[in-house]
């Protein structure tokens, strides 16, 4: 169960970060663009156990604060202990493909 607290969007379980621009996010609850430093009364905290479970399933997690992908369990624990926001979900960007010339 999620614990309901007043917090910044970046720390909220509803928050989905833009895959390229880390100052843009998306709120799954509101269904609209939000910004990481905004705070919201509807925000809910990311539950550590869920992050760990997702890490076990996906094999990776992304630290929003550090902008890095974590593959190692010890690394994950370290970022959790620092209170970093970890996720496996991003805002869906449907136009990046049109902005990315081939490179193969």
């Amino acid at each position: 169960m999620h614990e309901k607290v007043l917090m910044k969007c970046i720390n909220c379980a509803y928050y989905r970060q833009h895959p390229i621009y880390d100052f843009i996010g998306y709120c799954e609850k509101k269904g609209s663009v939000v910004f990481p430093e905004e705070s919201c009364k509807d925000a809910i905290s990311i539950v550590k156990e869920e992050t760990e479970k997702l890490f076990e399933n996906y094999g990776w997690a992304y630290c929003i604060e550090c902008g890095s992908v974590l593959f190692d369990r010890n690394e994950l624990d370290k970022h959790i202990s620092l209170g970093h926001s970890l996720t496996q979900k991003f805002l869906e960007d449907e136009v990046a493909i049109y902005e990315s010339p081939g490179g193969d």
């Binding site: 833009h18 895959p19 390229i20 621009y21 100052f23 843009i24 998306y26 609209s32 663009v33 910004f35 430093e37 902008g67 890095s68 805002l91 869906e92 960007d93 449907e94 136009v95 990046a96 493909i97 049109y98 902005e99 990315s100 010339p101 081939g102 490179g103 193969d104």
Partner: protein, 629 residues
């Protein structure tokens, strides 16, 4: 200002293409000439990309140069990477929310790039954070347009509901709106550009509004300090096209009926453009066919197969793909099958630098083969040449029944330019000798002439084999036959020597009594023409010898110019060996001893070429250029 050199930087996939295209269209709509080169990593999304561009009030520019007067930065990395490219009095548009971002915190910065930047920051006594860098720039004559991208988006969000899945579009528009304000582009021209890019719907509406908001903020604070002079060029009808696009256009005009390919950078975009215009009816009848195969071996062989049925064909590829095509080309040479290979050069060897440019495949295109067979090698120096070369290549291939290799470099392929609409009345299609009703005595490889009439599979029985063969096409290893058929094939080279005029092989630019002669090919052309103008301002008269065909080689012109100017003749190329100079030695027996070479994967800029020429004139024998991020 007569012209504006500018840079737009940002993460790959983050909207840079949109910013560049909209600004290019807006400049062109306002009557300015534009050129923009795209530089990007092969990692597809997230790595640093940039557009280096120029808008000109008097001409359709062909060269790129540093320093720049405007940098539009979508992210912190763009400022860190390009602050050394700025001219005095330049303007930087950047995201002031990122002031606390430290260089070491940016994961997309390549380690070697990071070290290089760090060294410069240390030398200039600048802290690693963006805010400190920006303050340094302010203190050193650079005008900083700091905008809170977050606040701008937040403001827009209050007025409308930003389309989340297209959020990067709005970042593009910040750069567009701010740049347009500083340069004083007509808002209607910006509107035209945005409309052309986004077509219709909420994203268009939002971005039209957003562009106005951003422009208003910037112009009210900074005015339009980079305003270009009113356009004075009477350019007529223009196209804004990439090199890939214009080769595709040339092929369509040249009557291409089938294009084969396997996707490879930087060639694939040409095939994609052709695919967009592929219109086939139920029976496969309609426009040209674009055929993507499983690899380049299949691509060249499918093209050759189609050629044997009388189809006008081409294949497009890049270095690694061409290597795979070489055996097939030999088969085409043996069987006198007309086929065009559009060869987009990138940095090699191996995978090399897939998204970076180079001119290191010249010797390969001229010599790649086991055994000997005739071929032609054309090389395009700009978009205009690429259009006509694409048509000529198709004609030459069928007239002489040979493989024709059309060299284009990545710089040209990925550079978007405003180009005058070609005079299509000058275009023609020559399919060479064709026999429609071959009799029973028909010999596909008749010894009567180096070029014997073609009859097509599907209409008549013709024998083809990779083995040596007789006039009918049957295998023969008999010595006298071997001499005759080898002579028949190879004598095409003499025919080509006689029929392709010298002025088709080479173009001469600049002063007729020069102090220095530049010798080059391909995308060097723009930089050379730009450098000639700059050298003139320094009191140096320069000529540029631009080679357009390597087979046949313009040996008379090169010999003649060399005989007069050998001590001041400089080979200028995007490779290590000076490959065009090697060919000048092989084909024209001249030894060009001075070289200006660049093999970083970035194009030669006219200003660095001018400076290198000046160093050569002061005694240097060889200059290796390295400018560009």
């Amino acid at each position: 200002m007569k012209s504006l050199n500018y840079l737009l930087g940002g993460p790959q996939g983050g909207g840079l293409e949109t910013s560049s295209q909209v600004l290019s269209w807006a400049f062109a709509k306002s009557g300015y000439g534009v050129i923009s080169d795209r530089e990007y990593y092969s990692n597809i999304v997230g790595r640093h990309s940039y557009i280096h561009a120029k808008a000109d009030s008097e001409e359709l520019p062909k060269d790129l140069q540093y320093p720049v007067k405007l940098l539009g930065a979508m992210d912190a990395e763009s400022v860190f990477t390009h602050f050394t490219d700025l001219d005095s009095g330049a303007y930087v548009i950047y995201n002031s929310d990122l002031n606390s971002t430290r260089l070491s915190q940016i994961p997309s910065v390549e380690p070697e790039v990071g070290e290089k930047i760090l060294k410069i920051l240390k030398k200039l006594n600048i802290e690693q954070d963006l805010g400190s860098l920006v303050n340094y720039l302010k203190d050193n004559g650079v005008n900083v347009v700091g905008l809170s991208y977050r606040d701008l988006l937040s403001e827009l969000q209050k007025k409308t509901n930003i389309v989340a899945a297209q959020a990067s579009r709005y970042i593009s528009t910040i750069i567009i709106g701010a740049s347009a304000a500083l340069v004083g582009i007509d808002p209607e021209a910006v509107k035209y550009g945005l409309t052309r890019r986004f077509k219709s719907g909420p994203v268009l509406e939002h971005n039209l509004t957003f562009s106005e908001i951003v422009s208003e903020i910037v112009s009210s604070n900074f005015g339009s300090p980079l305003k270009l002079d009113p356009p004075r060029g009477n350019f007529g009808r223009l196209m804004i096209v990439s090199g890939n696009d214009i080769v595709a256009m040339g092929k369509v005009v040249g009557g291409l009926r089938m294009q084969t390919y396997y996707p490879i950078t930087p060639a694939a975009d040409e095939s994609f453009t052709l695919e967009e215009h592929e219109r086939l009816g139920e029976a496969g009848i309609g426009s040209l066919t674009v055929f993507q195969l499983e690899d380049e071996l299949a691509a060249v062989n499918a093209a050759i197969g189609a050629s044997l049925t009388g189809t006008r064909v081409a294949a497009a590829t890049s270095g690694p793909g061409f290597d795979l095509m070489v055996e097939g080309l030999g088969w085409a040479g043996m069987n006198e099958a007309p086929v065009v290979i559009t060869y987009y050069q990138r940095g090699g060897p191996s995978t090399g630098q897939p998204t970076r440019g180079g001119q290191s495949d010249l010797l390969s295109s001229v010599f790649a083969s086991h055994g000997e067979y005739p071929r032609m090698v054309l090389a395009s120096g700009d978009h205009e040449e690429a259009f006509w070369d694409a048509i000529d290549a198709l004609n030459y291939a069928e007239v002489y029944q040979i493989p024709v290799i059309h060299l284009v470099d990545k710089f040209l392929a990925n550079t978007i330019r405003s180009v005058a609409f070609p005079d299509l009345s000058k275009a023609y299609i020559n399919r060479g000798k064709i026999v429609q009703e071959p009799g029973k005595d028909y010999k596909r490889f008749s010894f009567e002439s180096p070029v014997s009439p073609r009859a097509f599979l599907g209409k008549t029985l013709v024998w083809y084999t990779g083995d040596e063969h007789n006039e009918e096409g049957h295998i023969s290893e008999e010595p006298e036959n071997r001499i005759k058929i080898m002579n028949k094939r190879m004598e095409k080279l003499e025919l080509i020597e006689q029929e392709v005029p010298e002025e088709r092989r080479v173009s001469i630019y600049g002063d007729e009594s020069p102090d220095v002669v530049l010798y080059g090919w391909g995308f060097v052309k723009g930089a050379a023409l730009g450098a000639i103008k700059m050298l003139k301002e320094e009191g140096v008269k320069a000529m540029y010898v631009h080679v357009r065909t390597f087979i046949p080689f313009p040996k008379n012109t090169v010999k003649n110019i060399y005989s007069k100017y050998k001590d001041v003749m400089i080979d200028v190329e995007h490779n290590y060996l000076g490959q065009a100079a090697v060919l000048a030695s092989a084909f024209a027996n001249v030894e060009i001893k001075k070289h200006i070479l660049k093999y970083t994967g970035r194009p030669i800029y006219s200003n660095e070429l001018k400076n290198a020429v000046m160093r050569i004139l002061k005694g240097s024998e060889k200059e290796v250029l390295e400018y560009g991020a």
